[in-house]
């Protein structure tokens, strides 16, 4: 079916979503200064994308690895933690669950393969748009990060126990926020994956 998404396309779409959502979160939470971002049109909305080369390289490096893991069905959760540099405490925890849908046709994983599902690329983009809008609107309940300019972020990838992990990646605890509150956002799905988002915070 024309426009439907195969596994590789689905994975690419998810990775791309992570790239834009990480940039959006870092921008709107003020983790990096405003001048490190520029406006881009994506999913029919205006988003902020980092223009800082160092940050771009760092995010790209992470996402290339995450892409491979998602493609191989090895990664089922990606977490972005905003951390206070002063005491290392986790201020916010953005979690994206990746659920692999039921096994697809044998053409899965082959470039150019098409799926028989009804889920179109346009429908997925629409769902992503709605999700990013909710992420943007989260400032209505999230507290202002008062220690401006003194935050950093960590990316955690939840993988299977036997997954090959590059040297740059290390083991970590889940960095949960004790006594915080969790808000569940909308989700989006492709033919092969379903991605949902939530944020934990303390106010």
């Amino acid at each position: 079916m024309e426009g439907s998404i195969a596994l590789k396309g689905s994975t690419r779409l998810i990775t791309e979503f992570f790239e834009y959502s990480i940039s959006t979160i870092l921008y709107q939470r003020g983790v990096y200064p405003e001048e490190d971002f520029s406006k881009v049109k994506k999913y029919d909305i205006t988003l902020m994308k980092t223009v800082d080369d160092e940050l771009k390289t760092y995010i790209r490096k992470i996402l290339i690895q995450v892409h491979n893991w998602v493609l191989g069905g090895k990664c089922h959760k990606l977490v972005i933690c905003i951390i206070d540099k002063d005491d290392g405490s986790v201020t916010e925890r953005w979690a994206f669950d990746i659920v692999r849908l039921a096994a697809r046709t044998e053409a899965d994983g082959q470039e150019g393969a098409v799926s028989t599902s009804e889920q179109s690329v346009e429908e997925t983009r629409k769902q992503i748009r709605a999700l990013i809008r909710q992420i943007t609107a989260s400032v209505t309940f999230l507290p202002e990060l008062s220690n401006e300019g003194n935050y950093t972020f960590n990316v955690l990838a939840y993988t299977d126990a036997y997954t090959n992990v590059p040297m740059e990646w290390g083991d970590s605890d889940s960095k949960e926020i004790e006594g915080g509150e969790v808000v569940q956002f909308k989700n989006f799905s492709t033919n092969d994956h379903k991605v949902s988002a939530e944020v934990s915070y303390r106010f």
């Binding site: 609107a137 309940f141 202002e144 300019g149 003194n150 808000v183 569940q184 106010f203």
Partner: protein
């Protein structure tokens, strides 16, 4: 850990107001599900708790609980009068003011900062609140106060004052110290000027007196603004007529530009925002051209006082009365003669009779009818 979905707030996400301290979405969702009568009952409960407050306990905690409840109940923000957020916040700030234990209580200081940030619409108002806090020692040991105030000063282009404020915080060893050190480091990068220690003193003192060299501050500022506008547009601006302002609660006429009386009391936002208040635009600074100085005496009313007469030549003399007569050569003649005196209705008087009447020697009714004289007594050609 509480879990909630963003979905119930989906329709309100464009209107919901962000809060500095954030809010519990779970509580917001629960309150949105409550009936208006239930919300009214909850509000009354808070009010009754406030009515029975005493200083033995922690009145600030009760107020803060009430404020948090309003924020959750009215996600559109507390700017609407119906929410009551502004009133409750001001009640809390005023109730706890002067209580030594709250002066550097982070909860109380943060409420002040939130008040300045949320409810003070213009920079002058916000500045007055920060200065009020400074002068009353509110938050003098809380880093958040210095942080927010210095950020505002920096945004206003007051880099020097900002630097001095942070140095004051450093000297007072406010906690957390590293926040102040970091802000100083950031500022040091943006400024290379040596601070002489007078800028901040001047900044705070200038906001204090309502008069400068016996002139009212708002008048000076208004003149300065008008001069700026004139120089920009090249045309003379005329000031519009003033609108009556009922100042029944403020008999201090010199206090119009400050929201306080002697910096010990902050007037409520609604009183400060009354119509037709002359808002100061910017600060009067060194080198600013304020024009000629009028003394305060010039601004007060002179009603009831008799003015001293000034001598001039025409004093006591009446101006000549001219009469214009048509001439045969189509050129009119202007005659220096008051014919109304000569021809009293149907009567005609000679000059001698007029003099006699004016001296009381001849009764007006004495004159009998005479033939009306045509020419004037002394025709004088003035100009054609």
């Amino acid at each position: 850990m509480k879990r909630s979905a963003f979905e119930p707030l989906e329709g309100e996400k464009e209107n919901a107001v962000a809060l500095v301290g954030g809010r519990s979405l779970a509580r917001v969702v629960a309150l949105r599900a409550a009936a208006p009568r239930e919300l009214g009952a909850m509000r009354e409960q808070f009010e009754s708790r406030l009515a029975s407050l005493d200083f033995e306990g922690d009145p600030l905690a009760v107020f803060l609980e009430y404020i948090a409840w309003i924020k959750d109940a009215v996600v559109q923000g507390g700017m609407s009068r119906a929410s009551g957020l502004l009133e409750v916040t001001e009640r809390c700030l005023m109730y706890c003011q002067g209580e030594e234990r709250y002066g550097n209580d982070e909860r109380y200081v943060r409420l002040w900062l939130e008040y300045a940030w949320t409810f003070c619409g213009d920079d002058a108002d916000r500045r007055d609140v920060y200065v009020f806090m400074f002068r009353n020692g509110i938050g003098s040991q809380v880093a958040a106060y210095y942080d927010q105030f210095s950020k505002w000063l920096y945004a206003m282009g007051k880099t020097e004052e900002c630097l001095q404020l942070l140095r004051t915080a450093q000297a007072r060893r406010v906690q957390p110290e590293n926040l102040i050190v970091r802000r100083l480091g950031q500022l040091a990068q943006s400024t290379s000027s040596d601070v002489d220690g007078t800028a901040m003193a001047q900044y705070f003192s200038e906001s204090n007196p309502p008069t400068i060299l016996s002139r009212r501050r708002d008048l000076l500022q208004q003149e300065h603004r008008e001069r700026q506008l004139q120089s920009q547009s090249g045309s003379t601006r005329t000031s519009s007529s003033g609108i009556f302002r009922d100042d029944d609660d403020d008999d201090d006429t010199n206090d119009e530009t400050t929201p306080h009386k002697g910096w010990s009391f902050l007037r409520s936002k609604r009183q400060r925002d009354k119509e037709n208040r002359a808002l100061p635009q910017g600060v009067i600074e060194r080198g600013m051209n304020l024009g000629t100085l009028d003394t305060l005496d010039n601004t007060v009313s002179t009603a009831g006082k008799t003015k001293m007469a000034i001598f001039h030549d025409s004093l006591g003399r009446s101006d000549p009365v001219y009469t214009t007569l048509p001439s045969c050569d189509d050129k009119s003649e202007k005659i220096d003669c008051n014919f109304a005196l000569v021809y009293d209705q149907d009567e005609e008087y000679s000059i001698e009779m007029i003099l006699a009447v004016s001296r009381g020697l001849l009764a007006a009714g004495y004159c009998h009818k005479r033939r009306r004289l045509k020419p004037a007594a002394r025709p004088v050609r003035m100009h054609t």
